[in-house]
């Protein structure tokens, strides 16, 4: 019987294990050095904020693993010997495998800043980061100020976490507007304001020069590159993106780039060794996707796909239409298809932007300037139906169709104020069209592409 060994108990590895179990009787072992059981990394913030306890972040009860004959091993893999198909563990033990899957995820980026390894400097990615934060920033008496470096999704989450305990936060963002590498300008502007309205000291267009230490090796202050300003603080959060967590493979024969190099079948250069999730790097990017996709959803999809291959149905990783979501303090964000910010926007991509005159609610619809084909949508403060946009993208609907039938896509709770008519009116005014809004139809919602 094949022994499948998965290194990493995150969403990719666990999804893979679950699907292999559904399809086969193979022996499955998941190795993790981080925690005993799978937990949702995206929910760590809610533990610090007091919305949940750590146990609530675990999607499966503890009996689940035994019942499904998925063995869990808490250990750190030091070395991978692919010639003999054996793993060397940090505690001196060995483990043999028939098929090996690397699903070790990411680690926070550190760009060689002076002082980046001081006590009180942390990312917000691992369980131990949460424990660290609890130790160094339990309240605003122990931590008078925290500085966050890097304006991405984890940065804004860390800011929200610290804010929930009334710890003053300074947020250093390299770009001149928050997340504008990804988001179009109007949305990025709205978020700048939203962040400031939460009393977070947002500094745009600045970089970290160094982190200074006190006499005990603890963070004392940071210095800003551009202004030379010194900010006293007790905690520094490094959230300038993540990088694949694959240092333990450097001595192995597995081919590495920034991540573990894989082909479309998620196979590495070594037979019977695969990589999925944040740590996998495609030789060639798929469509508009990046070669390394550090996203919950793609990790899950790779797990779903690779289970087929491992169980005898060799299958290419072919993700469908791009989608993603996030929450910026109180604003929910969803995206379907491709909407580019300034960076990397194709010349044919044109935007229609609507923003509520008062509330932090807006959408941006991207379409092809020549063919009018709908390319994607960003929505802030309005929930949208995934199925509908997935279908419209498959059917290659034009943008007129999308704005006319937007009511089908609304996913806000019942009785919420709807904005489709306002959106359509602005669209008609902008493009001199005379479209009329169509009422929501269950028949259309349930029809397949």
């Amino acid at each position: 019987m094949d022994h499948i060994v998965i290194i990493g108990n995150g969403i990719s590895g666990v999804t893979l294990a679950r699907h292999i179990r559904k399809l086969s009787d193979k022996k499955i072992t998941i190795i993790s050095a981080e925690t005993d059981y799978f937990f949702s990394r995206t929910a760590l913030m809610y533990v610090y904020m007091g919305h949940m306890k750590f146990e609530h972040t675990q999607p499966y009860e503890n009996w689940f693993w035994k019942k499904n004959r998925i063995e869990l091993l808490k250990a750190y893999v030091k070395d991978v010997d692919t010639d003999h198909k054996v793993l060397q563990l940090a505690d001196g033990e060995h483990l043999n495998y028939d098929k090996l899957i690397i699903a070790t995820g990411s680690k926070p980026n550190k760009f060689g800043w002076p002082g980046q390894d001081l006590n009180g400097v942390m990312g917000m990615y691992h369980k131990r980061d949460l424990d660290n934060l609890e130790a160094y920033a339990p309240n605003n008496k122990v931590c008078n100020r925290a500085v966050i470096v890097g304006g991405g999704l984890i940065g804004i989450e860390l800011a929200e976490m610290l804010n929930s305990r009334k710890i003053p936060v300074t947020f250093l963002v390299r770009e001149n507007s928050f997340w504008n590498g990804v988001l179009p300008e109007g949305e990025s502007q709205m978020l700048n304001n939203h962040i400031k309205n939460h009393h977070i000291d947002l500094r745009l267009g600045v970089n970290l020069k160094e982190i200074k230490s006190d006499e005990n090796g603890r963070v004392k202050s940071v210095i800003i590159e551009e202004t030379g300003e010194e900010l006293a603080c007790n905690v520094v959060g490094l959230t300038a993106g993540v990088t694949p967590n694959i240092d333990f493979l450097k001595s192995s024969k597995i081919k590495l780039g920034r991540g573990v190099k894989v082909n479309r079948f998620l196979e590495t250069n070594i037979p019977d060794v695969y990589a999925i999730g944040d740590c996998a790097e495609q030789h060639e990017p798929i469509g508009n996707r990046r070669p390394i996709e550090a996203v919950w959803y793609t990790g899950r999809m790779m797990g779903e796909t690779l289970a087929q291959t491992i169980c005898g149905n060799r299958l290419e990783y072919k993700p469908g239409h791009w989608f993603n979501s996030a929450k910026f303090l109180d604003i929910e964000y969803q995206t379907y298809g491709w909407v580019f910010g300034v960076r990397g926007r194709p010349e044919y991509e044109k935007h229609f932007h609507w923003k509520h005159h008062k509330e932090d609610i807006c959408i941006t619809v991207a379409f092809h300037k020549d063919t009018n084909e709908f390319l994607g949508i960003n929505t802030f403060g309005i929930r949208m139906r995934h199925e509908i946009f997935d279908k419209w993208l498959t059917e290659k609907r034009d943008v007129d169709y999308v704005v006319s039938y937007l009511k089908d896509a609304n996913f806000d709770p019942e009785f919420y104020k709807a904005y489709e008519n306002d959106i359509l009116k602005q669209y008609n005014d902008t493009f001199n069209t005379n479209l009329t809004a169509h009422k929501k139809s269950w028949k259309r919602i349930f029809s397949k592409a």
Partner: protein
């Protein structure tokens, strides 16, 4: 703002302390004419009991109910012992000693409390309401911008089963024990609300009136809290308004006014089998006796349970009742909201839930069948079992202990829907309809779930919502009361309560939306 909150808390606690002390305070003196009235009203024929009370209680001063209650209890026991020995069944006193003590206490209260009802109301209810509102209202500003505000719930003693939680638990349990089993100690409370009761029904207040009034007050104050906490979520605002309306108008005011109009006391929204004594002999007799309106109530009660309830559940799910109309649900969604995260989400708890809640449903159906058989055949027993015994067991174990003491008393420990989830036979009945024949579902939004667990944590019914959402599957569960909080707390817009076509409502999924279309087809359509 923080200062206002703290002052409010102190004022509230003072009001609560006075209220809590009342059962053992007050002076009582029963004069003979009042006692004679009780004897006539209750048709007491036991001269032993009458003599006993006249010697030991009448025209004597007492301090606190604890000094009278034991004498009355002993008097009843003494009298009944003799009458039983002499087989004088018509002289025996069948009313409970606590009821007797309550009616004697009510007639004999004479001190400061009885003479200053308005002032005492202000010192208890008044301070409680003002203090609570001062504690709650600053949240409009303190909570900051609108959005989900669950910060610190698991850090605070009151909402994380800490000592405050346990104190609340002890208070609530004790309160229900007094209400159900030692109502004479509620005598002073009834005095406070006498003016209100007399205004509504024309009668002085009993302990159930105290309970009803308190219920409405607590719900109203805690509804203000809901309005502030969920001010961004119009579904919660509407729903809270609806439960509040049905509690105050249908459960509280209309029945009292009906009494004033010489009609039977009836809550038009309280459906059988939650209203478990609807078919009890005394109720049927009284309804039939009243004629016109009584017959209407009888027909309405039957139509409500057999027709209106299931049809509404078909269209809207059981939420229309459990979290929009029902009084138990109303209290759970207002007073109980801070405790919703304590419901147990384990598979084990789900198993217990199914045995218990369906067990109670079977119990109530069997009891009602026996009751109706007894009613029409004019016998007291069915297959050798006394109908009245079964009824008393149900009333005590399910009606009082489960629904009251455990159902509400355990809010801070087991969450706010203990009764609704594990005990309510109506919920079990609606659950069948919702599970098997309804348009209602909680739709999962394609592949957007990130398994964070907020939905499961804040599900008051202990449904592991995430287990479905992370598979891309809609949530169709008999226990869901449709409170909408899973959808509200979801950070990624994954959940939506909706009524739609029955086709596609239940959608088992293995591969989530967003992945390879061929793979989805291959796996999901097996």
């Amino acid at each position: 703002m923080k200062i206002i909150k703290n002052i409010g808390l102190v004022i509230f606690l003072i009001g609560l302390a006075i209220f809590t002390a009342l059962p053992i305070l007050g002076t009582f003196n029963l004069n003979d004419s009042n006692f004679q009235k009780i004897v006539t009203d209750q048709n007491i024929k036991s001269e032993i009991f009458i003599n006993d009370i006249q010697t030991n209680i009448v025209d004597k001063d007492f301090n606190g109910m604890q000094s009278i209650s034991p004498i009355i209890s002993k008097a009843i026991d003494n009298a009944n012992e003799t009458h039983t020995r002499n087989k004088e069944w018509d002289k025996k006193i069948y009313s409970k000693s606590s009821d007797m003590a309550a009616s004697i206490g009510k007639k004999s209260a004479n001190g400061f409390i009885a003479n200053n009802k308005g002032l005492m109301w202000l010192l208890t209810f008044g301070l409680g309401i003002i203090g609570a509102l001062m504690f709650i209202l600053p949240n409009v500003i303190l909570l900051g911008k609108k959005g989900i505000k669950n910060d610190g719930i698991y850090h605070e003693s009151g909402t994380n089963r800490g000592w405050i939680g346990w104190m609340v638990f002890i208070f609530l349990v004790s309160f229900y024990l007094v209400l159900y089993f030692a109502s004479e100690y509620a005598t002073n409370w009834t005095l406070l609300v006498d003016p209100i009761s007399e205004f509504l029904s024309g009668n002085p207040a009993g302990h159930w009136f105290v309970y009803g009034f308190m219920y409405c007050t607590v719900m109203t104050v805690m509804a203000v809290r809901m309005y502030i906490k969920y001010r961004h979520n119009i579904y919660q605002v509407f729903r809270t308004t609806s439960v509040l309306f049905f509690q105050i108008v249908f459960a509280f005011i209309i029945p009292e006014i009906m009494v004033r109009l010489q009609m039977p006391y009836y809550d038009f929204k309280n459906a059988f089998p939650l209203d478990y004594d609807f078919f009890f002999q005394w109720n049927l007799d009284s309804l039939i006796e009243t004629g016109g309106i009584g017959i209407f109530i009888l027909v309405w009660g039957i139509v409500l349970t057999l027709v209106i309830v299931p049809i509404m559940v078909y269209f809207f799910g059981k939420r229309w009742y459990c979290s929009w109309v029902c009084g138990c649900g109303g209290l759970a969604e207002t007073l109980g909201d801070p405790y919703r995260q304590h419901s147990d989400k384990s598979l084990f708890a789900w198993k217990v839930e199914r045995y218990l809640v369906h067990g109670v449903l079977v119990f109530v159906i069997v009891m009602t069948a026996m009751t109706l058989y007894s009613f029409f055949s004019d016998t007291g027993t069915v297959l050798g079992i006394k109908t009245s015994t079964v009824q008393s067991i149900y009333s005590l174990v399910i009606g009082s202990i489960f629904a009251g003491v455990i159902g509400t008393g355990f809010y801070p420990i087991f969450g706010n829907r203990v009764w609704c989830r594990f005990g309510c036979p109506l919920a079990a009945y609606l659950g069948f309809v919702q599970r098997f024949k309804s348009k209602f579902r909680i739709t999962t939004n394609g592949g957007q779930c990130i398994s964070c667990g907020n939905c499961s944590t804040y599900c008051e019914m202990g449904i592991d919502v995430r287990a479905y959402a992370q598979k891309g599957e809609n949530i169709v569960r008999s226990s869901c009361v449709g409170c909408g909080v899973c959808s509200a707390v979801c950070p990624r817009g994954v959940l939506k309560l909706e009524n739609g076509p029955e086709d596609g409502r239940i959608n088992p999924t293995e591969i989530l939306l967003g992945n390879d279309v061929d793979l989805m087809d291959l796996i999901n359509q097996k």
